[in-house]
Symmetry: C2
Subunit: 772 residues, 2 copies
């Protein structure tokens, strides 16, 4: 077992191998990706897996600690999730020699992410230039029990020397975003105070530069023997500009382990008027309870999350493991208590996309929460409602009616996607996605409607969702233009999910989703008119909604151009006029190679797709095309899709299953599941792909197990397990109970906590078991 | 020639090999010492030779920039010369890959210190991980023409790639003292402003934390082709907390060189009310004149210094080179215009000893300036007069009369040597040197008296020196106690130069120097009484000096215990009672090994000496012992001296010569001359040994060439060149003209600028030539 490679102190804290993600050697070239893979989040903040001892070359590490909702723009070209003061640093020095993974010769290195217990642990023996050998073990966690708190425990054992070990408990507020990219590097925080935390340790108070949101970070040290006896020799506080340091030392002797605990607390002005007081109270509380108690409370919380979220696939152990990896990062990211924050496209694990929410949330991530953590899904849904006013403004500013959601959304709901960006090679380009990628508005409406369908949270729909559906429908109505010649409505000048073709007219995906949005909104309103006329009146009043307007919407939805109904669907007007080519070669990672004919071609010149709009459409609205049409289109577009978006593979898996192409489906499942754990897009350094994580979960549960909630609210399954899988088990929260679902080649078994419920398997109704 | 290894741009800026100190490869383990060796000073500030591109592991570099007189204590245990904002950083990045000596595979590396031109230059070709190859050349200088200005020029040539090179002109104010020693690390400056220098570039304003002395640092970039055409693509200013950054980029193509010039200016509140205005003006001036003009002006200044300071030894090229190395750093360190600053024991090249002045200045360093740069010597002499009041206070506070100079002196003249210090292994100890090492007061008196004797600056003596001599004499008188039993005065409880025995009674060195101090002061006063009675009266009035007090001094000087007059002199009372041992083994560097009998013994238990007091005494006061006694003592103590002070070898060289031991003398000369250029004490990382540098110059001129100024003011020589030397030439400024001195085995030739002067060679008078 991997845990046997740790000392007797750390091994008992670790789970069995199947729960561990392992790094067997420190490789500077892979470290940036490993910092994302070994990143920890606790629903409120995130901390990348940078080595806490420091001393890693500056462009081989991007230490980052994020707190949900802490955004700033300053010199950046968008409001970014800020890199907040690094509370994780805990430096060791012996006679001017630092101790760390880059500081000497390292052997017996192992680092694990223990997904079951929600912590990282590492072990190594390091020989410094002066011949001193030290065994170092580090355990790190961000508490799920006390989400303002983080903990680092170090077991340090000198193997062949004696003397004073110097320890620095550091809070480093010099951090920036995009540290290794000079062109983009921005420091988002101003440091207001560097102090000793009323004598307890060290403290930094910062504020964002634009909106002056305060952030307090406090840390204290405890140094003791494994038996708990104090081993501190001396300590004092040192201010180093924007770096707060609690210096301490301890006398070490060969073979004797010392334990160094770092307790950290982070507060922001988002939830207190005095961040310093909150940090102080939190530090007092966590140090009083102590590391062991805090660890136990944290693990208990994580175990309870897994009780809901665990997925098991028997028959493909590596995939089984990777699926858990995706779920681990996904389930720990959103704040279960805060509806003012969402989930960034790279979770809280990296700085790309500024921590902004995209359509990834509603279409890729939300279904997981709908089924597994509906309370969190509710918060994510509320987030869009809270920013509805800004979406109304956004539509108005762009000359439309209703609500137009921004392509990228941070805390204010303003469009965060910049109009101009600079590539990291220095070239500037006009970025049109905010101008054209309007489908996000329909995607959000779609996601929220399905949230209600899956969870049965009609209250949300009444209180918030209906307004969103109606205002987005109103947007789409205003977005259409009448083509007198062709006698239909069109949506001109948009970009679909396939961003390589922009702008285009009558994008199949957008037109269909817009129509769906309008019809769904009208349908909902008509239902309310019948079943809850008071609510319907209230909505009409609030939205100044009139029957003539509804009629206008209906007319536009009815007459919007929908390309063909059968056969090959043209992704947008004129796509088939582009010289055709198909993919015939793949690289060593299985990624398609650009066909010769397309090399050097850009934008509308090439038929190659970044991701396939029609395939995505068939995934979301499977009812619009018959099976044969779906197969024709999947087969056609799959040969022209480069999958340069991590959103693409999971959709191709599920649509592949729908059209009966199990082989390609499985390959796409693997591509989706392994994107980060294998860093197979080489961009995991930027964070964990939220859409892949959510998409992977969907592939297993909605795809292979064929789960859905039928239109009458009944849970239904149409499983189509691959031959090699013998069993899939997972859990969902449905109708207020936790259901255990077991899918085998023989059928589907569902068991719940108390009352039996009805479910369907391939159309046949069954009753769930009640567990003892 | 070494310069042929540079490009056509840099080669013409470099001198012939004999003027170059060379580093052939970047060795991280040697880098800290190389930062001192390649450090530059310009009489006002110093900048260690850290690699300006950055990216060197944090404990393998101690970037430091010092400005004379900028001291601060804060959490340190003494006021230290502050590490001021690092204006030298100039970072290059191409597609996230930094370019620098540690950032990839480096070949063709060469770095030189060009002592003749006063600059450093380096050349290397670096291959980054992505295969890009870049030739980098860097020239750096601190202007001697405009001592607030520094310049860095980079020639950057991509060899095999094209694109946007990112350049960061950085001022880094996060710097600390003792960066790699957590226990001692202190940040002495508070950052007040990080701005864009009125749009010109970047600017940091700092202040010392204790006394709030402002320091302004400004830097601007110019990017152009070698032909001078602007090559800047874009630039903007970025504030990163305490780091100011001017970001710029330039489009580079293979084989085409771009030139990046960094202009820097540093101002302090020591000489202006508005540091920002002064920095701005200076930057305007130096950028207007441009790099080439500034380089020419700087080189002209350095060449003029060498016209005075050059020493040539024919017959030992390596020594010849090392002597120039010592002179280079020594002559560039003191401020020729500022009598409020002195010379630190490690020059301006490192942080050890806090930049404090010790007795090293008066006894080791001052003679070089007395003979070569008497104007500078005058400033150094004035420094002690300016701090005489504090020395009076220091005596009073310690229960003595007169003036007691501090063991370590910074800007205020207070004792800066701490009573308690901590070793870097964490152990605390009571440091007694300030309590006991009183000889510094006599050393200063001695040095100043010899300054006047050598330079003939009687005005200094009248205006300042006499007061110092009298007040230090008064101190020594009060420092003596009467031993009724032995019927003599004693000086009890002192430490001599040999700090391994503390405290001791009747230290031979101290007793003799104290007596010399008193007698010299009385002698001077009596002379003034005869020749300048008004001055004598004025002194008596100011110092409340009475004849009874003078008589008391005389009595004490006459009756102070002086050990033996002949034969073996006991270093202090009881030294001969310590069990004896002699050195019989030397390590591979020629350093003595501790004899078995002394291993583990400390302090007064062991006869081994750190440096030899009696030998030092014989150097300073050669007249007190006859030649035979001198030989006996040199021979005896030399066998018991471990030379753990860098002050020891040069003295042993000169006394060795005096007693006729030419062989040992030469070995000591080499030890002194090579201490830093060979880093043979392994502590050159801490700075350049001022005392070795000055002592080495003394060995050549006063030792081998036997130069002195006779009591009647006539320049005299008693040369004793080693067999292998064929000729020594050097220059001194004497009686207002620059004299060229040529010493061969055949005699001594002196030539001057205009009037012939009389000089003596082995007692025979000669007249100097007048050069055409």
């Amino acid at each position: 077992m991997l845990r046997d490679r740790f000392s007797q102190y750390v091994a008992p804290l670790l789970s069995q191998d199947e729960w561990l993600v392992v790094e067997e050697a420190f490789d500077p070239k892979e470290n940036l990706a490993k910092e994302a893979i070994f990143g920890l989040t606790n629903g409120r903040m995130g901390s990348r897996g940078s080595h806490v001892e420091g001393d890693v070359r500056f462009n081989q590490t991007l230490p980052a600690n994020y707190v949900h909702g802490v955004f700033d723009r300053s010199e950046a070209f968008m409001r970014e999730l800020c890199n907040t003061p690094d509370w994780t640093k805990l430096r060791l020095t012996f006679l001017t020699e630092p101790i760390g993974v880059c500081s000497g010769e390292v052997r017996d290195y192992i680092r694990v992410l223990d997904m079951h217990n929600g912590l990282t642990a590492k072990h190594y023996i390091m020989r410094s230039d002066n011949g001193n050998e030290t065994r170092v073990e580090v355990v790190k966690l961000l508490s799920r029990a006390h989400p303002r708190a983080g903990f680092i425990r170090m077991y340090v054992t000198p193997l062949n020397y004696e003397g004073m070990l110097e320890i620095e408990n550091v809070i480093d507020a010099t951090v920036t975003n995009f540290q290794d990219m000079p062109r983009f590097r921005v420091k988002h925080l101003r440091t207001l105070e560097v102090s000793d935390l009323r004598g307890l340790g060290c403290y930094v108070e910062s504020e964002t530069r634009d909106q002056k949101l305060p952030i307090g970070t406090g840390c204290v040290l405890r140094i003791h023997t494994p038996e708990g006896e104090n081993a501190l020799s001396s300590r004092n506080f040192r201010p180093y500009g924007e770096v707060a340091c609690e210096f301490a030392d301890t006398h070490v002797v060969p073979g004797k382990t010392v334990v160094i605990d770092k307790y950290a607390a982070v507060a922001t002005g988002r939830d207190t008027d005095s961040v310093s007081a909150q940090v102080y109270r939190e530090i007092e509380a966590i140090t009083t309870r102590g590391f062991e108690a805090e660890l136990a409370m944290h693990m208990d919380c994580v175990h309870r999350l897994w009780e809901q979220a665990e997925v098991r696939i028997e028959g493909d152990a590596e995939l089984d493991h990777a699926v858990r990896f995706n779920i681990f990062h996904l389930m720990n990211t959103p704040d279960p208590l805060d509806n003012r924050v969402n989930i960034g496209a790279k979770l809280l694990h990296g700085e790309e996309y500024g921590g902004h929410a995209f359509w990834d949330t509603e279409l890729f991530v939300l279904p997981f929460f709908d089924y597994v953590f509906p309370d969190i899904a509710r918060k994510l849904a509320e987030y869009r409602y809270l920013l509805l006013d800004k979406a109304l403004e956004n539509a108005r500013d762009n000359g439309y009616e209703g609500a137009k959601y921004p392509w990228e959304s941070a805390d204010t709901g303003e469009e965060e996607c910049p109009s101009w960006t600079i590539e990291y090679d220095g070239s500037c380009y006009r970025c049109y996605v905010a101008d054209y990628e309007h489908h996000v508005t329909a995607d959000i409406a779609y996601g929220l409607k399905h949230y209600v369908d899956i969870t049965g949270d009609d209250a949300f729909m009444k209180d918030m969702g209906a307004e969103i559906l109606l205002q987005t429908a109103r947007f789409w109505s205003s977005r259409m233009t009448w083509n007198e010649e062709k006698q239909h409505y069109e949506i001109l000048g948009v970009t679909g999910p396939d961003e390589w073709h922009e702008p285009v007219d009558n994008n199949a995906y957008t037109n269909h989703l817009a129509r769906w949005n309008i019809l769904t909104a009208i349908g909902l309103y008509r239902t309310y008119q019948q079943e809850n006329p008071e609510l319907a009146r209230r909505l009409a009043d609030k939205l100044r909604l009139t029957e003539p307007e509804l009629a206008r919407w209906q007319q536009r939805a009815d007459k919007v151009f929908l390309q063909a109904e059968r056969g090959l669907i043209e992704q947008f007007d004129g796509y088939f006029d582009i010289p055709d080519a198909v993919i015939t070669e793949w690289d060593e990672n299985g990624m398609p190679k650009t066909p010769e004919a397309c090399v050097g071609k850009r934008g509308l010149e090439r038929c190659m797709l970044k991701q396939a709009d029609v395939v995505m459409l068939m995934f979301l609205l499977p009812e619009v095309y018959d099976k044969e049409t779906q197969f024709i289109n999947f087969d056609y577009y799959e040969q022209r899709t480069m999958h340069r978006s991590s959103l693409s593979p999971s959709i191709h898996c599920m649509v592949g299953l729908n059209v009966g192409d199990a082989k390609r489906a499985y390959a796409y499942l693997e591509r989706s599941a392994y994107v980060d754990i294998h860093n197979n897009q080489r961009n995991t350094r930027e964070g964990i792909h939220a859409a892949s994580a959510g998409g992977t979960w969907q592939c297993i549960t909605l795809g292979y197990c064929g789960m859905r909630v039928d239109s009458d609210g009944v849970l239904a399954f149409e499983p189509r397990l691959p031959e090699r899988w013998t069993k899939v088990t997972f859990r969902i929260r449905h109708k207020d109970q936790l259901l255990h679902v077991t899918v085998t080649h023989d059928g589907v078994e569902v068991s719940g906590d108390y009352a039996p419920i009805c479910y369907r398997v391939n159309g046949a109704e069954k009753m769930s078991e009640v567990r003892a």
